[in-house]
Symmetry: C2
Subunit: 570 residues, 2 copies
């Protein structure tokens, strides 16, 4: 085992070489590549072999309806003809403003199927940023759900390049009241269109869809997914989650960002029954739980922010639902141990922690559970601890963790480094952006996340690179320290930042808000941290504050703290 582990420790083999090292052997195969990996293949296959499979969707009035893969595929072909008649040609960008609706699902296949690019328009972006996205991508046609006409009307002045606004509604055109220019009505156009479309074979490196980052600094950056990458992501995720025709997949994560983590595509690949919950709010969580029960949902995706209220609701039910087959793919943040355990103990559902980003399509790692090969050697607590981590990389995804100088770090569960990713569905450059270089290293995408990989191959994230504290050449996780400090009975919330230091580069500074407003002595904080941190890692300064500053989405605003306290040791 020594040999491979030496090798594995550093990942320093040729898969880490830049792409131009590729060998062409001069011995061609007889299998060529004339058959390109197109997403159309996935829907076409399942619509033909499972025409009777169902798609359940929420209607505009909040009810539920259903149709079949065959019905849906036929509508996709009508839409493809509509787009062509609106002047959409290969390579054109077509935007979508919609919830997780059946029309959005149809557009997922119809737009890329014509060789156009589906622009995912994130409703959470500001009007200015959304206008930037529409203009930067050169979108000339945008489809908008009737319920989002207000967003579109506000956007229109910021998106002068859009020459077709296509409204999606069950109501007739004459009942739709909008100030949008050049308005079309999708259903009217579809009724006049042919239900057969001659899907082209598209070069697989062509853009399939586009999504822009929602980062807080600078302009949104464009990620243009390829047909090839999406196809391979689909096969990998389907195999990992084991989705087949006996499953029911509910698409919970918004379809307007990172293609709802590729779950709609995986569901189609597996020919699963699909549930599209439309527009839902956390306040309507009972609706989601109800449909999970009535439609026997076995796979869905979401964040702890969804699964946590879902569990709270389930606890109020007289009879807990039987979700023993359910795989709940959870991203965005680490699920609390109690959430995972209670969900499992009450319903039988398996929360699967996954990791990725807009740039990674997004599945990069995922934690289907403890490897069968090591499960017997672990205690129950150790198994749950392992299950909380971000998991094992998907096959085909190369992962590295590197220090500040780009050197590979060992996979020992201790050495913290920035996570680098590379593979068929990992970004290789940002779209039309000149200063790409600092986001890539040797062909790998720099995630900006800091983590460790343990001897079993599991990734665990410890911090964001911009938040980790670099002290004396070593890294200290601000998140680990915050979690340790809030364990103090009087601490309500805590934040830790790195502050520039003339001798140590940075030193940790802790901020605490207490329940009684009274200070906690630094010795008491040090005693609390003593078990988990080395002496040199302990903060030299602990400051009492009334409250920890937060961003608009509720995260700790470390930039504000750094702005206010950055010169503490100057």
């Amino acid at each position: 085992m020594t040999d491979v582990m030496n090798h594995s420790d550093t990942e320093a083999d040729v898969h880490d070489r830049p792409a131009d090292a590729r060998i062409v052997t001069g011995r061609p195969s007889t299998h060529g590549d004339s058959y390109q990996l197109n997403t159309t293949t996935l829907i076409r296959h399942s619509a033909r072999t499972y025409p009777e499979q169902e798609i359940v969707y929420r209607t505009a009035d909040g009810g539920w309806d259903r149709y079949t893969y065959a019905d849906s595929y036929s509508r996709m072909q009508r839409i493809a003809n509509v787009l062509t008649e609106l002047g959409v040609t290969p390579g054109d960008v077509v935007g979508v403003l919609d919830w997780n609706s059946r029309r959005h699902f149809e557009l997922y296949w119809a737009i890329p199927g014509t060789a156009a690019v589906m622009l995912q328009m994130n409703l959470r972006l500001s009007t200015e940023d959304l206008g930037f996205v529409a203009t930067h991508s050169e979108a000339h046609t945008v489809l908008v759900d009737e319920s989002l006409l207000g967003v579109a009307e506000a956007l229109a002045p910021h998106a002068p390049g859009v020459r077709n606004w296509v409204v999606m509604s069950d109501r007739p055109a004459e009942e739709i009241d909008t100030s949008l220019p050049n308005v079309h009505h999708l259903e009217d156009l579809m009724a006049a269109a042919s239900p057969e479309f001659d899907w082209p074979m598209i070069d697989e490196k062509s853009a399939y869809s586009a999504c822009y980052t929602t980062g807080t600094t600078g302009r949104p950056k464009g990620i243009y997914y390829s047909h090839r990458g999406m196809y391979l992501h689909t096969l990998s995720q389907s195999a990992h989650l084991g989705i087949n025709d006996t499953d029911t997949v509910m698409i919970t994560t918004p379809m307007f960002h990172a293609q709802s983590w590729g779950l709609p595509q995986s569901a189609v690949y597996g020919a699963a029954k699909i549930v599209l919950p439309g527009r839902y709010a956390v306040e309507e969580i009972a609706t989601l739980v109800d449909v999970m029960i009535t439609e026997d949902v076995t796979v869905t995706n979401g964040a702890p922010a969804i699964f946590s209220p879902m569990l709270d609701h389930i606890k109020t039910l007289d009879v807990p639902p039987d979700f023993r087959r359910a795989r709940l793919l959870s991203g965005a943040s680490e699920p609390a141990l109690s959430l995972m355990r209670e969900f499992y103990e009450i319903t039988g559902a398996d929360i699967i922690h996954g990791y990725g980003a807009t740039e990674t399509t997004p599945l990069a790692t995922s934690n289907r559970g403890v490897k069968s090969t090591i499960a017997a050697s672990l205690s129950e607590e150790q198994r749950w601890d392992l299950k909380r981590r971000q998991g094992l990389p998907a096959t085909g995804i190369d992962i590295r963790i590197v220090d500040a100088d780009g050197n590979d770090l060992p996979h020992d569960g201790v050495s913290q480094g920035e996570v680098l990713l590379r593979g068929p569905w990992i970004i290789e450059s940002y779209y039309h952006l000149d200063d790409n270089a600092d986001r890539f290293l040797d062909g790998y995408w720099r995630s900006g996340d800091v983590g460790v990989i343990d001897e079993n191959g599991y990734l665990k994230l410890t911090d964001r690179l911009k938040d980790i504290i670099k002290s004396g050449g070593e890294w200290i996780s601000s998140i680990d320290m915050e979690n340790a400090i809030v364990a103090h009975p009087r601490v309500v919330e805590a934040a830790v930042i790195g502050v520039s230091h003339p001798q140590w580069q940075e030193r940790p500074v802790a901020f605490v808000a207490t329940s009684d407003g009274e200070d906690i002595g630094i010795d008491e904080i040090h005693a609390l941290l003593g078990d988990r941190f080395a002496k040199w890692q302990l903060p030299d300064t602990v400051l009492l504050v009334d409250a920890i500053p937060r961003t608009s989405v509720g995260k700790i605003n470390k930039r504000a703290l750094r702005d206010d306290y950055g010169d503490l040791y100057a």
Copy 2:
């Protein structure tokens, strides 16, 4: 549903266009293709994430031993270094003569990993044909298991281009007695080699391995699989069979032909435990059943010729084994209904009928079972009948059935046509063969098999194209008619061929051998067939024979019958 079915009936859309119709949109993605699909990625990933996973293998003395993915991966790297030192460079062809051994498994990854091509040398070929294969492929290095030195020694004079013969044995070099020239001892070379190899990134269209057809007419024809095709086949098969780290996969089908149906690769992708039964004979079937029980095998592959004696042996056991998790992938011929049912009823194992050929890597269709969406509408008998068929096409494989003029036929379960296949792991040309054209149509490979596709998408083969009877513009399945005739209580065996006819192109002629040697009147045969065949399909001539002529492998020798009776209606 009408729209999609119209479309599906004929498959006449643009996926059927030749490859040069591919659209390059001018809108590139940001995900590129610098990461090539290499098979090395599969083994490297599983060796790193599951170093402790086991591989159980049969030793030369008939015992069993085991090691880990990490051990195996380390040995693969040593072998890659050995090959390099023997002068193997990218694009070179390296032959293997071996059973399903652990060294063969290591070579599966080590040879293609260096960017060389693994030549699968089929032990069933004649010495002359094997010599042709070695020479046509330009193999300069061949690895041979000690037990096959006799085969290699007979081959050597027919393979003058081979300059390195590498013997694989657990015994020391000085104990190996062979007349082969330029002999090396693999284990000696490995002991001196480095356990780290710098795997190259290989252009994915490069040849990964080669296999030659075993057709009875003409020279063997070369199929050179690509890294890309093998990678995609692996993902598809793994998803279809649902292989993961809780499975144990036994590689039963010979690894020297069509890469044992890609099962070794799928097992590695799923990080399953692997069982390599080495050299086994049907007479040793108890050994296979024993290891399935002791190692808890959940997936294996084979033909009815293996599963049938396996079942016979199981029936002799006091306690039937519990194979409820087992998926037995069965190819080569249609499994008898009784075999499938009894295997299921006695052990719980699921026999999965698959279809493919050397040219198709080989998985083209497979029958995981009755679609969940239609199961409730079928009787138990109908479900079993459906399960016997060749199944649904793998996603990414385009399938067509066409008449003699190449016109698409409807998917109605009745219309018989030649099966055409196309996809990332389907052959596009034969290697260095000029007269390819008659084996391909519009970029599809012509399988030479005749079948129907029913309205649920299931393929059922009815005959070989060369055996089907073309009468008055319609096709009559010779196999269906033979199966019907042998149902007669006095018929021991039967054969039906098409004989040239001046008016009807061909007419069926039946040959029967009876238990008492007495003739059966044609009226009685017609009465027997009346239920299943139209009047015009009934044979005009039924001939009594002592025995039906057979080929060396026991199949009905229809060529001999056609030679003898071809001018019956002339």
